[in-house]
Amino acid sequence: MNTLKRYLRLYRVLVSQFLKTIMQSKVDFLMGLLGFFFTQIMGIAFLYLVFEQIPSLQGWSLNQLIFIYGFAQIPRGIDHLFTDNIWMIAWRIVINGDFDRYMLRPMNLFFQVIAEKLQPDALGELLVGTLLLIYSLSKGIVIVDALHIGLFLVSIFAGAIIYTSIKLFFASIAFWVKISGPFLQVAYEMADFAKYPTEIYARAIRFIITWIIPFAFVAYLPASFFLKETVSGWIIGIECLIALVFWCIAYALFKKGTSIYESAGN
């Protein structure tokens, strides 16, 4: 309990330092914010144009598609907001030896990596996701009661863990190959498939995103539970199990990686 308290306190301290850093340069910060809003507005406009052309897809109505799309954005946004610094393991901090700094401090290594940065861009994904969800809810296509809201929150949390685990897994390969950014990039881009019903893809891709890199479980499959009576609530249970297993594998690989970390010469 004390450890948890200490880490929460440290998290607050480290994150507030990060926020101070990005606000040090006020112009940069404002420009970033402005750019971010433009990107999001463009994103929504693009979605509108696409969905306008598709009245229905493989038996899914436009409103249902919007729900799936919005649902997919939220776990992704949460993961993006809190753990974006994992990308740096894949691209930079292992090969240039900056990982030394984490090794010298009396704190958990994974905690240090994620506490170093928040990714404000993720607020855009969360905003768009929430807006799309609210819009599709207003059309009355899903049941809103305590059970469904509870399962919805559990599913979002588990989905974010799946994202983080996949990212951590591919980033940790950098401890062996020095730069694992390209692998991570490929794996992460698969996540885009999760925004649409998997039935529209070729069989091979469907297999990969369901059973190998299980992005289907972070959005499409749980979303179908909320949209269709025929899909059982157990799908959320399976999602949680996948999240747990993937997290254990990814974290074990990360731990193993830090033990063989080679630093860099001066």
Binding site: R9, Q17, Q24, M103, L104, R105, Y261, N266
Partner: protein, 349 residues
Amino acid sequence: MIDVKHISKDFVSPKKYPGLSGAIKGLFSREKVIKNAVNDISFHIDKGEIVGYIGSNGAGKSTTIKMMTGILNPTSGECIANGINPSKDRKANAKNIGVVFGQRTQLWWDLPLNESFTILKEIYNVSDEDYTERMKFLNEVLDLEEFMDRPVRTLSLGQRMRGDLGAALLHNPKVLYLDEPTIGLDLVVKDNIRKAIKKINEMYETTIILTTHDIGDIEELCNRIIIIDKGRKIYDGSLEKLKDIYGSKRKISIEVKPDDSLRTFSLSSKLNISPEECITEYDEKSYTLHVTFDKHQIQTPDILSAIMEMADVKDVVIQETDLAEIVKEIYVTVQAGLAHSAVQDRKRN
């Protein structure tokens, strides 16, 4: 305090071949190159010692320090510091140590220096009282106040190094590791940093291990030095002993009034010793005689009186061999020794 036992570190990397075709060949080859960076090094360091850890570039200094601080896991052997094995219990060890890498700052680059101290206070759980007391001391020895509120990236190298040293000491570590703490600094700053290190050692009995290429650091600070070369320990002992064994050579430069007879002058025949033991060179441009000799063989006054009989002496400079030369000499002897034993090995086979 610190026990390093038969520690070794190998770096394994895939074999590389030259050229584009070589790069393709490398992709499919499973051949590995093993680089033995540290080879069976052992030593013991007591509380409060200041130990200089020296060697040429790539000798394995940083690798050893990285194993002692828990950054790298040794391939074999172990290191125990304060009863803790850093590669098994990294976090517990990290609480006991402070580390400064001269070429890499550990401060928060974009934030004012005092923010770094605030964060470190939280990370190391330093109490408010300890913090106030420690900051007062650090300000005294390192003069941090003048640039405390400036972002770290705007500090000069000397200021940054003082900041880094302060940051490494905030939690009063039992052991302080300094990897080239004075690299790139000017003489005045170097001197201040050395004084600060000395004071910290006296005040808190902090054990200090420092790697350096700067002989000045060693002469000013270290009561003991360990020299490594090609991953092996080649000397471990006091500075005096080192100078005694390897640094018995002295050099005297004597400026004289122009005199042609000095061109053929041989001091060794005059003193009745073999020419190798006393080498005399005459520089005609500056009218200076350089005499190199072994101080265990000949006394300085003997040489001086012999020369004064011969010529009009204007000025005399006596130089003690400096440590840089001694270290160079050790490298040469050790390498010759290694080559020698390698030849013997081959003969035996």
